[in-house]
Amino acid sequence: MGRNYLLGKYSKHSKTLTLFIIMISVFIVISIFLPGKFLTIRNFQSMFSQIPEFGLLAIAVMLAMLTGGIDLSIVATANLAGIVAALILTKFTFPQIGGYEELLTIILAIISALTVSLICGFLNGILVAYIGVPAILATLGTMGLFSGIAIIITKGYGIIGFPEKFLFIGSGTILLIPVPMIIFILCALVAVLILNKTIFGFSVYMLGSNPISARFSGISNENLLIKTYMMSGFFAGLASIIMISRVNSIREGYGSVYLLQAILVCVLGGVDPSGGSGSISGLIMGIITLQVLQSGFNILSFSPFFKKVIWGLILILVMVINFYSAKLSQKSIKRLKTN
């Protein structure tokens, strides 16, 4: 009993350790191969401004994955939320109004974006929890629905030009640290606290590893799923605010690459797609690894198509490695048990 417990603990740490080693080695390899280009302050600043967007989306996917589902609608949710915020920002702000009203508009825009994303998450949650639609199809459908609504609202055109103060969220700095990074770190901390220190977090892991036993231990699976998908939506909404204020525009279909990358980061960071295991610390190491690679590819000016190939290959490679490592650890557990 005690031995098995220790073994579980050991294997959990070894996973984090492996991730850490991969992250550091990717970092070192890129630094060596791109001398004087990778290790510059400017490059780090640009990396720091890109991490928060898809980092938040990755947390959103991770939450759904922990329950054994997946959320394919995150980018569409973020787009819809971003478009609603953009409409409020461009329709209600006029140059003549004072700073106070401008601030109110910005707050209103942010609140509406987050509300929209919460509603999107709620819809996903209802479909998955109460109607019993498999998460893949439910979120695939809502992905089409949300992006459809976004197209209908914007007629496919982009919305550009937000108030100066709003742009601070995406491109400002506090004490030399980019604001998006601060938001991301805060969100990651909140997510860690929720997942590790609350009953809700514990229940999410439990639901993911075995929904039936979760139900019999008194958890309302339906409630929990709805809350989880709403949280997922919320993080997507936050990502959208950062996204639109960084690039000062929004268009339907914006950031569609992030979906693959967010799932990739989750898998890379050790989140089990079948649910029940995964940690924010692993996820963050996955994010950093991906971002380091991404910035290396940018310096080498790889074409976006070639990057697509590489992201896909890495995703599959990680899954293959996971398959073999799971097989190995199963074998070692068996050996220990027979000893």
Binding site: G141, I316, M319
Partner: protein, 341 residues
Amino acid sequence: MVKNNRILRIQKLLKQNELYLFLVIIVYSVFITSLNSSFLSLENLFDLGKSSAGMGIMAIGVFTVLLSGGIDISFTAIAISGQYIAANVLIASGVDNIFFAFFISCLVGVALGAINGLLISQFKISTLITTLGTASVFHGALLTIVGTKAINSAQLPDCFKAFGAKDVLILTKSNGVNYGLSIFIIIFIVLALLTWLILKYTMLGRGIYAIGGDINAAERSGFNVAKIQFFIYCYVGFLAGIAGVLHISLIRYSNPTYIVGTELSVIAAVVLGGTRITGGSGTIIGTIMGVAMVTILNNSLILVGLSSYWHNFFVGLIIILSVSITSYQSKRSIGNIVFRR
């Protein structure tokens, strides 16, 4: 006794999704015809059939995958790869033969499908994540290695144009204009029949249903799960290859960024046809009707007075509604003890 039997039969019929879908199609078609009388003409139906045959063939592939409890979202990337590579090979080699084009396209399709099949059957990777990854790899590789240049109508080998214009049955309207039943529709029907035969009368087909029902039970009852899964994804690739050639022959143009992005419509059509993603349940007739419904809906949006901007919205709505109905039914019938994700 006989009466009882008949009642049972009617009850069974009423439980089937296909019946309701069929009624919806009829009602909707009548509604559209009341707006535009040319909608229900044979000519228009032939046209719709021709333009949706490619989608229908891809839908048959998706249907087979969903039946086995998996999902494939890389089939559009496979279709465009097959099409674009075949067109390029034909131009480069100077061989102007449609069978050669089909051969190349299907070869590419089966090869790419085999990669999916290998990953899924050997490494037990989730089908969604595998095909999400391979879709990105296939399409990225096509654009990186083969190129990004579109092939326009002038460069396109003549065999595609001839094939696209080929009719098996030519009818004449009262005003003397000819219209015909395209060979595309025949190909679609043949492939649908072939799939139906495989599913119904071969061990392989029963295996696909079995895997979808319960993969562990299928394994224990002696099905070679890995082999069957490998076949399924190769078959999807093969069908995607054919769909790719039909697509290029239809629009007489090839752009390596086409087709990719239509996954959602095809999946929508299949789930609308009553196929459950949890596997083990669904019919090819349902799939065909799903394709018909999505096609009619797409083609009638403008007639109803909605701009094409509404397309994504409706596709999403169709998926959600139809999946909700089938999921809710099965949830109710199984009861609440077994929790479904």
